[in-house]
Symmetry: none
Subunit: 401 residues, 2 copies
């Protein structure tokens, strides 16, 4: 929607503070019995009050009909055109666990998985082994050298790990080995361009060696790689917005995303109350806070309508911790919808609200998909949220004479 250079040219520091609260996968679909979405079912007086004092609307992370992954969903909220600014899953995960990437590194996301005697994948998540087990298996594989490359294997959580390939002549233009379904063998990694031949060879040889080492560790007797990617080097939010930005997120990928756009990632406990406490503790030192709530998306993906409602209610109960700090601008939104009915991310536009003393409030008094449809923000691209938050925090000067 906007050229970041335009925003950069008119942004200015101010004392005002912005809190951007992202409830992952916030948007939902009506429950067949009640006709109400998760957000419409939840009892959430504090979010409703914020809506009544503020302005709401529906945001499209990428565009109508497009279901965003977490990265494009968040990049849009941070103001980056999610089609122009593309980031691979492997890089995201690597940055998210504080792995120090070097120029040229190729990172992938990995799953430990189960294969049967014929080599067919029977469980893409190896029965969701414990994080402890994952750490043990990663140690087994970390540091393998193939041709001129070294492969670093670091645990993420449960069955998930990252593999970082370091060496001369590697390329991210390689295909996933993850077949994304069970009952079929893992795919060979293939070079998508001739320059990625070495990458594909190294990855396939690594997978072979890893299988031998993992053989005794059923159900985690093999692994799948996906999202071969290299560091994208985006302009930082500090550069664009002249803000001092902090991120509070309990799940690594979102910390990784925040780091990619130059936020300082704060150490935090993982409950909603702990995340909000972290915000309070660091409130003096930053003027922009990105707070990420994972639970809403996880519940939506599990198809658990009630749990999603409960998490929204939990956020609402804890919200006074944030409101009590009296931020000048509060934005509440999601990176995409994750309706329990769909059990996954979806394309439906996301309910979003913005509170500030100068937001020109609309007449909506409930934070819901239906109210947001009639809200003062209208239906806008998610990339408009940052410029709006910035404007309301007096961090944008006039464009043009």
């Amino acid at each position: 929607m906007y050229d970041l250079n335009l925003i950069k040219s008119i942004s200015q520091p101010s004392l005002q503070k912005i809190v951007l609260l992202v409830m992952d996968g916030l948007g939902g679909l009506p429950h067949p019995e009640t006709g109400k979405t998760e957000l419409e079912t939840a009892v959430k007086p504090n979010l409703d009050l914020l809506t009544a004092m503020g302005i709401c609307g529906l945001t499209d992370p990428v565009g109508p009909g497009i279901t965003p992954g977490s990265a494009p969903g968040h990049l849009a909220i941070f103001g980056y055109d999610p089609i122009e600014f593309n980031v691979g899953r492997g890089i995201l995960e690597a940055v998210g666990i504080d792995f120090e990437l070097k120029p040229g590194d190729v990172a992938t996301r990995g799953n430990f998985c189960t294969i049967d005697a014929e080599g067919l994948v029977t469980d893409r998540r190896a029965g969701r082994i414990s994080t402890e087990k994952c750490i043990e298996l990663c140690r087994l594989l970390d540091g393998i050298k193939i041709q001129n490359a070294t492969i670093f294997i670091q645990p993420v959580k449960e069955h998930r790990f990252i593999a970082v390939f370091r060496g001369p002549g590697l390329s991210a233009e390689a295909s996933d080995s993850d077949p994304q379904q069970t009952g079929v063998p893992a795919k060979p990694v293939t070079a998508l361009i001739p320059a990625a031949n070495t990458m594909a060879d190294v990855a396939n040889e690594f997978i072979s060696q890893a299988r031998i080492r993992l053989a005794p560790y059923s159900p985690a007797n093999s692994l799948l790689l996906r999202g071969f990617s290299q560091h994208p080097h985006f302009p930082s939010m500090t550069e664009i917005y002249k803000i001092k930005a902090a991120a509070i997120a309990s799940y690594p990928m979102y910390r990784g995303l925040a780091r990619l756009v130059g936020m300082q990632v704060l150490k935090t406990g993982s409950t909603i109350a702990e995340e909000f406490e972290t915000l309070a503790r660091h409130y003096k030192n930053f003027d922009f806070f990105f707070v990420h709530i994972k639970g809403t998306d996880a519940a939506g993906e599990d198809g658990d309508f009630k749990r999603k409602v409960n998490i929204i209610e939990e956020v609402d109960r804890e919200l006074p911790r944030i409101v009590g700090l009296r931020p000048d601008v509060i934005v509440v939104t999601g990176d995409h919808s994750s309706p329990a009915m769909i059990k996954g991310h979806s394309w439906h536009p996301v309910p979003s609200l913005l509170y500030s003393k100068i937001c020109r409030p609309d007449q909506e008094t409930a934070f819901s998909e239906t109210a947001c449809l009639y809200g003062g923000l209208g239906r806008i691209p998610a990339t408009a949220l940052m410029p709006l938050a910035m404007a309301n925090a007096l961090k944008l000067t006039k464009f043009g004479a």
Copy 2:
């Protein structure tokens, strides 16, 4: 709005079926006596029910204020940026009558016309001669050879025909001979670029020879050419959307448009009931159906408010034939507005509705310009309709990690 490559990269086959019902020129303007548009005047319980179960909005085929021709109007609905994807009228008409174009062919639309003794055009449509007469005259002209080119002349309907120029070194960059008014002579065809000199020479020589042959056939004693164009070779809908697409349209131009984007054109009767029966008969064999209703536009262009209302009501009466097939997604829209008050195409945004079980319904219960203004789709580019239909039919996967 979207890069088709993006859509292509995330589209996937699914079993779900989409019906896209295009009521040509659907949007209207309020009748001065009742304050209600054609759509608001029509009694249409089935369309209203579909709106109540679905989601509605207003779509802009090209952009606010821009009145689209039929080609950009339809290309937008099919998801093609109507400014980027441009198609000449001659090509449209040629494809619409199943003329087999070869690479390099230049097609134009032709009218038989009446000229007086001084060569001034007195009737641009030769008194709308019968189709039989048109067929006879086309035979008279078909196959003329000039320089190294052969000119194919094929009847369309009444006074309308196509002329296809085949030969080396022809170019579509030539101006119309049709002066678009009476009382003046036909214009000479001129080359718009130097490379089109041969084209202009051949066309002008053809017109001279045709006039000699047509001289005894007053009122069809001459002809006018317009819309010199070559086959645009668009990416097909099958390629972009991975759908098996069928078109049901009784008027040649819309069949031609559908063929240009790779749809299979089904043989059909021309009434609304017959078109819907054609859909039912072929329902098993495709997962996407474009059904075109011409009557709404024709009535609008004639300034016949009541006839347009009647045709909307006829569509509504027949609609259960489609709904009864239980398509997963039904989209009802128009390629542009054709208000009876304006007697032609207009720029007003088009009422559009989308029904699916996972569309997140809005609160609107009537299919009308006014209701669509408040509908859950908001006001969106018409190019968003295909991605939305695809998403609701689970034919789009996630974008990005």
